[in-house]
């Protein structure tokens, strides 16, 4: 059932446990096309786990994930036990959802261009020339065309993260997930990464961003969500969130610690 106004991504009752610990506890979330959702919250609140669940890097214990209206990623076997779908299907889903990691995770043995080409080349089986063209486009988009032939080891943290963004974009994803993209960066390098994310937002990219940068949340987000102990405690537009939800004791103390 696809409708014009349906959410791009819809999470229903997502629960993920690590042994006795419940990292994500029955979370519901709808993300509309073009929407920028920023999730904040203390360490260990389940933000990253939730984000990784969307990309199947974590296998959830309960809940359903709908992408463009279709339930994805999990099937039930004859005994009725749910498990992750066939690897080929999971890979196909992942290629539609880009992910950027806190520690960049660039492939150190490939040049910058090689990193960005890798997805189109290996996953989408595009020709070298086609993959190269896409990669050059994406590097231009993140402003690193001149770095295309160097190895990642020579880049600054901010440049590395921009290459990682270009690598994810090269797959033409419909949704981008950012897992604390600036947490491993020196403060003076944070700006360039946010500039890149900001320009993506202007182009209408749908994004879920986990971050500790409140300024960025305020400026960029369509919606800010505060997560703690595996649940959403509060959410709202940035104006609403930072003006009204601040009364929330937990949020207040968290923000006071951060700001």
């Amino acid at each position: 059932m696809k409708t014009a106004n349906q959410p791009l991504l819809s999470l229903k009752g997502i629960t993920k446990r690590f042994g006795a610990l419940t990292a994500v506890n029955g979370v519901d979330l709808d993300v509309c096309p073009g929407e920028i959702v920023v999730i904040i919250g203390p360490s260990g609140s389940g933000k990253s786990t939730l984000l990784r669940s969307v990309n199947f890097l974590e296998e959830i214990d309960e809940g359903t994930i709908l992408f463009e209206g279709d339930e994805i990623g999990y099937v039930r076997n004859k005994q009725g036990r749910r498990h992750l779908d066939a690897p080929a299907k999971i890979c196909a889903l992942r290629s539609e959802i880009g992910m950027v990691f806190q520690h960049f995770n660039l492939f150190p043995h490939m040049t910058v261009l090689g990193n960005v080409m890798e997805g189109p080349l290996t996953v989408q089986k595009k020709s070298t020339a086609a993959a190269r063209e896409i990669a050059l486009d994406m590097l231009a988009k993140v402003g690193l065309s001149e770095k295309r032939d160097v190895f990642p080891a020579t880049l600054s943290g901010g440049q590395k993260q921009r290459v990682a963004i270009a690598r994810a974009l090269a797959m033409r994803p419909k949704l981008m997930l950012f897992d604390e993209p600036t947490s491993a960066l020196d403060p003076e390098l944070i700006g360039e990464v946010f500039d890149t994310i900001r320009s993506l937002g202007r182009e209408g990219m749908t994004m879920i961003i986990v971050t500790h940068q409140m300024g960025f949340a305020k400026e960029m987000a369509d919606r800010v969500i505060f997560m703690e102990n595996g649940s959403f405690v509060a959410q709202g537009t940035p104006e609403d969130f930072f003006a009204n939800q601040m009364e929330h004791d937990r949020i207040k103390s968290f923000l006071n610690r951060i700001l």
Partner: protein, 339 residues
Amino acid sequence: MKLLSGRISKTAILLFSCLLLLLVPVSYAKDYDQVFSDANEAMGNGDLPAAITILKKVQFEKGDDGGAFVRSRMQIARLQFALKDMPAASATAREVLAVYPDNSEALNFIASVKQEQKPRYVVFIEDCLRFLPQLLKGAVMTIALVVCIILISPLGGLLIALGRISAFKPVSGLCWFFIWLFRGTPLLLQLFFIYYGLPSLGITFKPFTAAILGLGLNYSAYLGEIIRGGIQSIEHGQMEAAKAIGMTYWQAMRRVIIPQTYKRLMPPIGNEFIALIKDTALVSTIAMVELMRSADQMFNAYFNVTALILAALIYLLFTTIFTFIFEKIEIRAGIYENR
């Protein structure tokens, strides 16, 4: 009595052998018996030049059987040899040859004088030239073995490593067992089992096949563990990043994880291959004629340590070349880490 200390024992042996000769009943012309006993006495006093002078009294006479003459001249030659007067020693031996050109004692003596006159390094080089053709033949076989194992064992090792980290229990269990078995028993025993043991089960291999099989299995087991360590040393985020752009597990392994292990694997694998060069010596026990076996054959045939020294030098040459090659590959493999 001025003898060089190093020569004392040799002189003693000479004297002793001369004494023994005197004890043998002989039928020389009667008047020479006195000469020999005088010479013997002089030798007993340690006066070798005097003994030589006395022995020279014996002359060759036509119609004589020449026994006394040959005996006296050879004794003189030996005494001159003991006195390190090599030209005189061989000249004396030639006196015998002048009368009896085929006298093997004299011929051998002249040969050993020649050998003694040569500088040590000349002797060594001559030995080298004598042993080298056979040793090189053996060395070619050693290299053939090493090259085969270098081609086989990394592939075997990779398969075992991937099997070991497989989530599929029967596969990882099987690989664990393989490593346990081949790492836990002596290579020599494995070679014996394959070459001498399996025929009793009706499986017979040629020596070369058995050697390749034994070394290949053993080295695959070792490399398997090294490669597994290499794969698992790659940061987990690399696999996640590869998966996040849609790669399958095998694509990620092939394109992202395994290429990053090359540099890290070079030092331990280089180590293994240097050990391999030396371990090929073990296949000499299963009827393979390689460098070690050739050296052993030469050593046993000539009882000449030069054969072993030469083999050691060839092994050292091989290991040196390998060390050098692996250092180069390591640098090449890690080029992306150089800023």
